[in-house]
């Protein structure tokens, strides 16, 4: 706590200076882009719309955040104080620009602001216990993580059933589909990419290409040749793995960021080909009316030979959604199971050794090219599975689902989760995807900002900011400790500081 040694007024003065400077910079930055908006009028000529008050808002928001970040030491206190200050600012804004004065909102904003600031003050001033010795804490972390993983798996298995009883088939559909299936796809993709990036330390920015190949494999094979999903699923995986090997051969001797850029280019090329090879992929319009999932042959329709009629249930679209949920859960768990098992086998250990030091690996006779290729192929295979699932769930694929943004999202999930940690990756997927999905739900914000406010617009903006913030907060991700694959007497976690991140 070196910073607290400084006497109060100096500290405050420094914080104020920092805040003033940050506010000034924020004002300068927001001057053209925020304060003036170029919009085309009826004649398609650009005219400027002026909204100078936004400069004030930006400066105040940035300045107050910098003030508390500079004044406080404890990160919880900082976060609470910044949020509290923003709530107060927002309340003040509501009071001043009373255009949409809403007394409830005002009370809420001011109340939340005061509470958060009080919490920050409490958090900052209370005596903090000395951190426990890390060696003693490590085994406990492992047990806790393991317990958490088991409990979480059980909860996920129970999730659709509980929702079904609680909200009924109508009400639970959205929650099972948007939150359940959607997040699980990303969990699976995250786990797949985790093999490549987290374990083998190979930076892959084009992972979405394998996802796309899997999706188009099912879409085209089923619409053209009428192959069933259950046949196409393994085919999609094999195809993607094959593509992974094809890509891997020439590029795997590249190191670090270069590998990342080649994979990025590969992902973009796949996307461009999907967009422009109209004869096969139908281009931008995509492939539609892809056969839907069946219950091992029984279609989820209202027909007499459908799933509902066969099992004597009333027809409901929720059946298909629940089946999809369990299907993707099974696929994700398969990915996880294989990865966890492989980590304890020579191959998995070789991946991690490769991430630690590839030169040492070669000096011990490990064929690093082959080892990299297996990681690439396996990761690609799981991406292909996920792609086939994506296609059967949507019933429609087009290139827009497979942009660089998707690759970046999946990579962010892996890095934020803590490279190599299955639990961390799952948590990060829930936080990132669930978090951005929740932004769709924030209709109450319309009460505050007016009817034309669309929270959805801000989804990716907040997503980007969250990526930056999380990296600064925890550069090594949520779970940074590494669990050894093998032990002599007891399994002790390796602290993240010693684990290398790979360079190839």
């Amino acid at each position: 706590m070196a910073a607290t040694d400084a006497s109060g007024p100096t500290r405050l003065g420094k914080a104020l200076r920092d805040a003033g400077f940050a506010a000034l910079v924020a004002a300068a930055l927001s001057f053209p882009i925020l304060a003036l908006r170029a919009e085309a009028d009826m004649n398609n000529t650009l005219v400027l719309e002026q909204r100078w008050s936004w400069i004030l808002v930006a400066a105040a928001a940035v300045g107050s955040a910098r003030f508390f970040a500079s004044l406080l030491d404890d990160w919880r206190a900082r976060a609470a104080a910044v949020l509290g200050a923003w709530a107060l600012l927002f309340g003040a804004g509501l009071a001043v620009f009373s255009r949409l004065l809403d007394r409830d909102a005002l009370v809420w904003a001011l109340g939340a602001g005061v509470l958060l600031l009080a919490y920050a003050w409490f958090q900052e001033t209370r005596a903090r216990p000395a951190p426990a010795a890390p060696a003693a804490a490590a085994p406990k972390t492992r047990d806790a993580l393991r317990l958490f993983a088991i409990a979480a798996t059980a909860a996920v298995i129970a999730y659709p059933i509980v929702l079904l009883f609680w909200l009924g088939p109508q009400g639970s559909l959205k929650w099972i589909n948007n939150y359940g299936v959607q997040i699980l796809i990303y969990v699976m993709l995250g786990w797949g990419l985790n093999i490549v990036v987290g374990l083998a330390g190979l930076l892959d920015l084009g992972y979405v290409a394998f996802f796309a190949l899997g999706a188009y494999a099912y879409a085209l094979l089923s619409t053209t040749f009428g192959l069933s999903f259950w046949l196409c699923l393994p085919l999609a995986g094999v195809l993607a793995a094959f593509a992974g090997v094809l890509l891997g051969f020439p590029v795997l001797r590249l190191r670090g960021d270069y590998l990342a850029l080649v994979t990025l280019a590969f992902g973009e090329i796949i996307n461009i080909v999907l967009t422009n090879w109209v004869d096969v992929t139908n281009g931008e319009a995509g492939v539609s009316s892809i056969p839907r999932i069946t219950f091992f042959g029984l279609p989820f329709t209202a027909a007499d030979d459908g799933f509902a009629a066969t099992f004597g249930l009333g027809f409901s679209p929720i059946h298909r959604t629940i089946f999809l949920f369990y299907l993707v859960l099974a696929l994700a768990l398969l990915t996880c199971f294989i990865t966890v098992r492989l980590r304890r086998l020579p191959l998995g250990r070789a991946w991690e050794a490769l991430r630690e030091d590839d030169i040492a690996c070669r000096s011990l006779g490990l064929n690093t090219t082959n080892i990299k290729l297996t990681a690439f192929a396996l990761g690609a295979m799981f991406g292909g599975f996920a792609g086939a699932f994506f296609a059967v769930r949507q019933g429609f694929v087009n290139p827009n689902s497979f942009t660089f943004m998707e690759s970046a999202t999946i990579l962010a999930i892996v890095v934020l989760g803590g490279m190599g940690s299955q639990t961390g990756v799952a948590l990060a997927a829930v936080a990132m995807i669930g978090g951005t999905e929740i932004l769709r739900e924030l209709d109450f914000l319309k009460r505050l900002f007016g009817e034309d406010f669309d929270p959805n617009q801000y989804r990716m903006l907040i997503f980007g900011l969250a990526m930056v913030t999380m990296m600064i907060w925890k550069p090594r991700g949520l779970v940074s400790n590494r669990q050894p694959s093998i032990f002599l007497k007891e399994r002790r976690a390796v602290s993240g500081g010693l684990v290398k991140e790979g360079h190839g």
Partner: protein, 307 residues
Amino acid sequence: MENFVQQIINGLTLGSIYGLIAIGYTMVFGIIGMVNFAHGDVFMVSTFIALILFLALTQLLGLPSIYLALFLVLVAAMVLTSLWSWAIERVAYRPLRGSFRLAPLISAIGMSIFLMNFVQVTQGPRNKPLPPMFNDVIQLSGLPGAANGITLAWKQILIMAVTAVLLCVFWFVVQKTALGRAQRAVEQDRRMAALLGVDVNRTVSLTFVIGAALAAVAGTLYLVQYGVVRFDDGFIPGVKAFTAAVLGGIGSIPGAVLGGLLIGLIEVLWSAYVSSDYKNVAAFSVLIVVLIFMPSGLLGRPEVEKV
């Protein structure tokens, strides 16, 4: 034949813009070994700054001279874009320097997403078209084999001239001044440079600032040449400029310019004679081929694996 010469002119114009952006990539990679993923979006932000300032000067303040307006826009865009880049480095990259290698990359990707969506939210998702300016062209008819087809627009001359002049100024800065020396010292060995009294943070900040200023030049010229900008115009030019930096040899500033011109030519010729649908494939393929077969680029230094 006429068409070919015309394509070469267009390619060099586009290539100048890529080259200017590529310098930002190559310098940052040289000095802190990081692919500044947000640099393409900084370029995009600069196009918007230039657009808005241009409109503000001509519409709000009613500046009569378009030349004066453009000159002011160029200077102001350079300053404001540099400030953006400085702030980005300060907030998103500096806290992560020397930490986990992937962290700055993810942070940069996050920044790129943020910038793109920030502009989308504040400026709207649609194309922003400016009425064409500097439409005067020079007819090149004296050339052998060219009947009357080749035109050299004044703005193309302007773009190439501005690029050339700024490159000379900038080259002088990097080669001859204390800043350039500090930069090269930090590039060689950051810790040693710090021990010898080089202010590493300031040097890195200045590198970002210079890169952004050149990107702003590119952004203003892009606006003049193409007259339309959009919030997602940063990604593809960014990747192409990075390709240019790699092709020229990463870390080499003349290499970045050379690479930019080559990428511009390849792209224009490819879309003219092969396929315009697949024009981006050309750039990406060049990136892959160069990285695999000559990772040190045209003018870069080869790297020996240290055992």
